[in-house]
Each structure stands twice: as structure tokens, then as C-alpha cells.
């Protein structure tokens, strides 16, 4: 009897040796005459257990992890193919508390299915959302998104339905859907996991967006640092087209919608929506002055719905299950689920999709298991390199957009990077401005100059030169950057600096090394 073993092909699993594990498993099974079929899935998002193998047994899928190539022989000897006991046995994966306690709506299929098996995608409810949107028509589809309370998951948290309505309301003619897959924030990898683990969900979400706003063409702007996501998307695009889910006659509806994949070139600023549009048009990624909004005048001058990967991949569920089904999750003005990404110095780093409302402390300790180093967690940066540093005294803040805004922080794209008590907050503050200087598009002065001068002033602080004077200079520069920059890069780069200064001022006033 053939036994199926799932081995992830997610880049994170590959980075931990999944390919060597798969190869060893094939060789060992062959040598011992066992009939094993290897299937490849995305990652469940439990990276401390990767490479995580799942064996299909009568009771369900039984997981083992972390399984390196060296562990394969002993696992086979222990009867892994029958779900036998072993030190690395996790048990039934669907019952594993870390996973079972989550509310995976957007990530429902990631880690479960072969990402490129279109039949399996459809059999598990895929493309029901698109068919529903085609039956509803544009206005009712946009209304469903508005009613769901979905807000942009890329970081700005703008209501998706309002954005789509604006595009829909523009005079008919050429319109576009542009998916921002330039996931450059440190500590974030949900877009990558989704694109590698369930690319059809993104393509379906884009097709629904196309139907809703009246766009015939979509673009995915993917960062060049994601070659595995590129492979998955390229293959998924071909299959979706061949099956009629993209093209001149989507699902036989007469609607035309197709998607083109564009690859970025290593510029962080191209994650900013107007800069991304410039880049797709083949120019330097310099931000545009708003208004007009991209929804009015976006790609090639046409109305464009610009949305993040997770936003678009959340759309099929909303259409298939109804706006209320999504809206029922969440708290206050943050509806639905948020895909949080635990990163940095945590024991159990990985993807946690939960309804809004969990506290940061629950996330860090109940899911994250505390620091990886075993030392106290001193600071957490949420929302990427432009997010504030949050001290332990504020760990009870609920993971909601408004609750985070109230403490001067932001949820952003849901990346959570933990630091233990060896972190040097002055160095991290300087890094934030140096990063901004390196990635600034140069269009506005506060960002282009402020980041350079601010980083220099912090270097003088680190050397102990005119410390208070230089700190005052830093604060003044940050004030100008916050209020006078054209876009979020210059506007938010001061957040990590000022929060570090506020909560960890002792690091800025330590005697300089060497005198």
C-alpha cells in the first residue's frame, strides 16, 4: 500500500533543510522497499518544527518534526510510516494546540494542500467566492467587502470596500488591480507563505477584485528576494489560465481578467503603493504626490485598486461564506482575522492567524513561548522596521488597530520581532535611520536629508559627544520627518527612534565604549 508523506516546500522549511530530508526519505524508502509517495505542501507556519513531516494515517495526518535528513533512518525504523512513536513525533497535526487554537480563514489551506493542485483547491471550496462575485455583480460584491469590515493588511489598514468603491465609481474604461507583494518589512513573511502555500487564493482574490471594480488586468509586484514565491505564482498563473479562471472569459462569464507577474529589484520603497506603480511602469521607484489617489489615477494613469497579498487572499472567504461570517471575528473596528508573524528572538516563531483582540503578551508567551535565548524579552518591534519599539510594560495592549494607535504604535503588516535584554536600543534606533537613508527614494527633503543627519547625530550620541544636544537634534529632525515627509517611509522612520528614546533612554546615556 502506498503511504503518503507530506514534506513542505516553503522557503522557510527549505532554509532548514526540507529538500535534503525529502531526498533522504525517497532514498531510504526505496532501499527498504517501502512504497512511499512524497507530496509537497506549504508550511503550517510552525518554524521551530520545520522540516515538519506529515504521514497520512487512518486517524489523520501524523506529524514529526523537526526532521533533518539525519533523522530519517531512525524514524523509518521506529515505524513513522504507520505513525509510530519517536522522540520527534508531534501527533495528529490538526489537534496540535498551537495550531488548533488558531482561527485560520485566510491560511486555511496553507500547509494542508499541494499549493499547485487546482483540482484540490476547487474541491476544498476554491473559486466559490469568484462564482458568487460573478453572480452578485460589481456593486453587491463591493458591498460585501465593505460589510465584512476588511481593512488593508499591508499596513495602512484602509477600509478595502471604500477603496474598491472609489475605483468602481470612476468612469468606465481601463482599470487595474495591482497586488503589492513587495513584502520588505523585517519580521514579516505572511505574504511569502501564502503565495508559496496557496497561490490560487491570491489569484482568486484578484479576479474577484477585477469583477468588483471593473478591471480587466491585474499585476502582482513581487520582490526579487522571493524566488520560491515566483516559481509558485508562475505555475499557478499558467494553471488558472488553462482552466479558464483567468483570461478572456473568466468562468464562462464573459468577463476578461488576467494577471501579469512583475519582479521588483530590491528597493524597499517600492512597497509604498505609488512608488510600486512607478516601478511597474518601468521607472525609478519615486513616490507620487497624492492626490490624486491611485484609486482615481493609478497605474498608467488609470483607476487602480492597490491591495496587499493578505487582503486579496482574504477576499474569497468573504464572498464564499458571506460578509457576516468574516465580520463575526474580531473586536471593535478591527474585524476578521489578522495574520501575525512571530519573529526574532522567540522560541516558537511562526504564523498565528487569530481574530483581532489577542494581547501582545498572549502572542509572545502563549504562542511564542518567550524568548529563544531564555533571557527576558526587553522590547518588541511590531509592524516592520518603521514600527515603534514596545516595552514590556505595554505588552498587555490588544492586537487591534486602534489600541495600537493609542500607544503610539502600529500593527502594520502584523510582523512581531522580539528582542531580549541584550538588545542595544541606541544601535537599533541608529539602524532605523540608516535604513531609511539607504532606502529613501530621494524625492522629499525631510526623508532624504533627515535620515542621514539623524543617523549621524545618533552616532555622535553613541560616541558620547555633546549627548543632550545631539539627542535634541534627533528629536527635532524626527519631528520634521514625521510631519513633512511625502510618504510613510520618512513619515514613520522616526517611530522606532522616538519610542526607543522614550522607553529605553538609559541606552542613549550609557558611558561611551572606550571612554
Amino acid at each position: 500500500m502506498t503511504i503518503t508523506v507530506w514534506v513542505p516546500r516553503d522557503a522557510g522549511a527549505l532554509a532548514l533543510g526540507a529538500e535534503a530530508t525529502a531526498r533522504r526519505l525517497v532514498a531510504a524508502a526505496q532501499a527498504s522497499g517501502k512504497d512511499v509517495r512524497i507530496r509537497r505542501n506549504g508550511s503550517r507556519g510552525m518554524y521551530w518544527l520545520e522540516p515538519l513531516l506529515e504521514v497520512e494515517c487512518d486517524a489523520g495526518r501524523i506529524a514529526y518534526g523537526p526532521v533533518t535528513a539525519r533523522d530519517v533512518d531512525s524514524l523509518l525504523a521506529a515505524g513513522m510510516l504507520q505513525g509510530g512513536p519517536h522522540a520527534l513525533r508531534i501527533g495528529l497535526i490538526e489537534e496540535y494546540p498551537w495550531l488548533a487554537s488558531q482561527q485560520r480563514l485566510t491560511f486555511a489551506r496553507v500547509g494542508r494542500a499541494d499549493p499547485l493542485d487546482l483540482e484540490e483547491y476547487v474541491a476544498s471550496g476554491g473559486y466559490r467566492g469568484l462564482r458568487r462575485a460573478l453572480a452578485l455583480g460589481p456593486a453587491a460584491t463591493v458591498r460585501a467587502i465593505t460589510d465584512s469590515g476588511l481593512r488593508g493588511r499591508g499596513g495602512a489598514a484602509f477600509p478595502t470596500g471604500v477603496k474598491w468603491q472609489t475605483v468602481l465609481d470612476q468612469p468606465s474604461g481601463e482599470k487595474f488591480v495591482a497586488c503589492n507583494a513587495d513584502e520588505g518589512d523585517s519580521g514579516t513573511y505572511a505574504d511569502r507563505m501564502l503565495m508559496e502555500g496557496d497561490p490560487f487564493a491570491l489569484l482568486e482574490g484578484m479576479a474577484i477584485a477585477g469583477v468588483a471594480v471593473g478591471a480587466g488586468q491585474g499585476y502582482i509586484y513581487l520582490r526579487v528576494e522571493y524566488p520560491h514565491a515566483r516559481q509558485a505564482l508562475t505555475a499557478a498563473l499558467e494553471r488558472a489560465r488553462a482552466a479558464g479562471y483567468l483570461g478572456d472569459d473568466v468562468c464562462g462569464s464573459g468577463h476578461r481578467f488576467d494577471v501579469e507577474l512583475r519582479i521588483g529589484a530590491g528597493a524597499y520603497i517600492c512597497g509604498e503603493e505609488t512608488s510600486m506603480l512607478e516601478s511597474i511602469e518601468g521607472r525609478r521607484g519615486e513616490v507620487r504626490v497624492r492626490p490624486p489617489l491611485p484609486a482615481q489615477k493609478g497605474l498608467f494613469g488609470a483607476p487602480t485598486a492597490v491591495n496587499n497579498v493578505i487582503t486579496l487572499a482574504s477576499v474569497p472567504f468573504i464572498l464564499a461564506e458571506g460578509a457576516d461570517a468574516y465580520r463575526d471575528y474580531g473586536a471593535a473596528k478591527s474585524r476578521g482575522t489578522l495574520s501575525l508573524q512571530l519573529a526574532g528572538n522567540v522560541r516558537h516563531a511562526g504564523l498565528v492567524e487569530r481574530a483581532f483582540g489577542l494581547t501582545l503578551r498572549e502572542l509572545l508567551y502563549d504562542y511564542g513561548g518567550g524568548s529563544a535565548s531564555g533571557r527576558p524579552i526587553r522590547a518588541v518591534q511590531v509592524g516592520g522596521p518603521l514600527g515603534a519599539y514596545i516595552p514590556a510594560s505595554e505588552f498587555d495592549t490588544a492586537l487591534e488597530y486602534e489600541a495600537f494607535a493609542a500607544i503610539g504604535a502600529m500593527l502594520g503588516h502584523g510582523g512581531v520581532v522580539a528582542f531580549d535584554d541584550t538588545a542595544d536600543m541606541l544601535q537599533l534606533a541608529r539602524h532605523a535611520l540608516a535604513f531609511c537613508a539607504q532606502e529613501s527614494c530621494g524625492k522629499c527633503v525631510p526623508c532624504r536629508m533627515g535620515s542621514v543627519r539623524g543617523a549621524e547625530a545618533l552616532e555622535r550620541v553613541a560616541r558620547g559627544e555633546s549627548r543632550e544636544l545631539n539627542l535634541a537634534v534627533v528629536e527635532e529632525i524626527c519631528d520634521t520627518m514625521t510631519h513633512a515627509s511625502l510618504c510613510g517611509l520618512g513619515g514613520m522612520a522616526p517611530a522606532p527612534v522616538l519610542s526607543a528614546l522614550k522607553h529605553f533612554s538609559e541606552d542613549f546615556r550609557r558611558p561611551a565604549a572606550g571612554g
Binding site: 522557503a11 522557510g12 527549505l14 532554509a15 532548514l16 507556519g45 518554524y47 520545520e50 513584502e183 520588505g184 518589512d185 523585517s186 519580521g187 514579516t188 513573511y189 505574504d191 511569502r192 526579487v224 528576494e225 522571493y226 524566488p227 520560491h228 501579469e260 512583475r262 519582479i263 521588483g264 529589484a265 530590491g266 528597493a267 524597499y268 516601478s279 511597474i280 511602469e281 518601468g282 521607472r283 525609478r284 521607484g285 498608467f300 508573524q341 512571530l342 519573529a343 526574532g344 528572538n345 516563531a349 511562526g350 504564523l351 529563544a372 518591534q381 522596521p385 510582523g415 520581532v417 522580539a418 528582542f419 531580549d420 538588545a423 537599533l428 539602524h431 535604513f435 532606502e439 527614494c441
Partner: protein, 167 residues
């Protein structure tokens, strides 16, 4: 990235190759960055001498094309070493001793990020985020990714990369 590459002269075959690349993207809108990716794929870099050819083919000014090539960190104007080693230095990797790993790599290879070893084997690059933040610190060698990289593991990877053994 800022120095002019003098090592690269275009022959007529190279010029034809570039013209063919541009032709491949003819039907697309705003194709310049896709074209530059393909040129870099073919030549290992975007040679300065390719800029006027691309500009002419697309009916753009040389300044337009030059401006795009130099804006993006990914495009290089001279060919890299045989292997490109990218070390992540973003916050998540810093939280897991990424800075110590970078210091080790600098010392071990005797070069700074952006430089190539004298034997032309390895180019070291510092990047900001590879999306492998759940297994920091992360390193990418060519298109291969590696997580939770210690100095010892980096040694091993560099050795494999340097001696041309399959990774």
C-alpha cells in the same frame, strides 16, 4: 554600484542579444525593469554599454535608463563573483546575532558587503529581509536559502560554495 564598469565591452553578438531581449518584451507595458532583469540574467550585470542600446530600442533617453539601473539595489554594473552570498541584516536577524554573523563573514572572507574576494569566487552582500524571519539569522547563496545560520554553519556553506560543490 556607483563605480563605472570598464571591464565590460559589448561585442556585436552581445548587442544582438540585448536587442533580442528588448524584442521579447515588446508587447508589454512599462517593460524596462523586466528587460534589465533579463539583461542581468544574461550578462551577470547591466553593463554600462548596454544602456544606450536599451534606451535606443525603447525610445528612452540614456539618462532615463541609467536612472533606473542606479535606483535599484538589485541591478549591478559589474559582474559579481561566482557565488553571491546575501546576509540579512534586518531587525529580526539582528535579534538573533545577525550582526555577529556579518562580522564573522567580513573577517573570514576579508571583504565588506558589496565586495568580491580577490579570487573572484564570492561576492558578499548585505540585504534587508529575506522573509525568513522565523528562522533568523538567514543567508541566501544564489537562490538557495539557509536559516538559523551560525558562524560554523556559514563556514561550511562558504566552503561548499567556494569549492564549487553542489549546495
Amino acid at each position: 554600484m556607483t563605480t563605472e564598469s570598464t571591464a565590460f565591452r559589448l561585442g556585436s553578438a552581445d548587442r544582438e542579444k540585448i536587442v533580442a531581449i528588448v524584442a521579447r518584451h515588446r508587447g508589454r507595458r512599462g517593460p524596462l525593469i523586466e528587460i534589465l532583469h533579463d539583461v542581468q540574467q544574461s550578462f551577470g550585470c547591466v553593463p554600462d554599454h548596454a544602456v544606450p542600446v536599451i534606451a535606443h530600442e525603447l525610445n528612452l533617453s540614456r539618462a532615463d535608463v541609467h536612472g533606473v539601473v542606479t535606483f535599484y539595489h538589485h541591478f549591478r554594473r559589474s559582474p559579481p563573483g561566482r557565488r553571491v552570498v546575501r546576509l540579512c541584516r534586518a531587525e529580526s536577524c539582528q535579534a538573533m546575532d545577525g550582526r555577529a554573523l556579518e562580522a564573522y563573514a567580513r573577517q573570514h572572507l576579508g571583504i565588506c558587503p558589496g565586495e568580491t574576494t580577490a579570487d573572484g569566487e564570492i561576492t558578499l552582500e548585505a540585504v534587508d529581509c529575506l522573509g525568513l524571519c522565523a528562522c533568523s539569522p538567514a543567508v541566501m547563496i544564489g537562490d538557495e536559502v539557509h536559516g538559523r545560520v551560525t558562524p560554523e554553519r556559514l563556514d561550511q556553506l562558504l566552503q561548499e560554495a567556494g569549492t564549487g560543490k553542489a549546495l
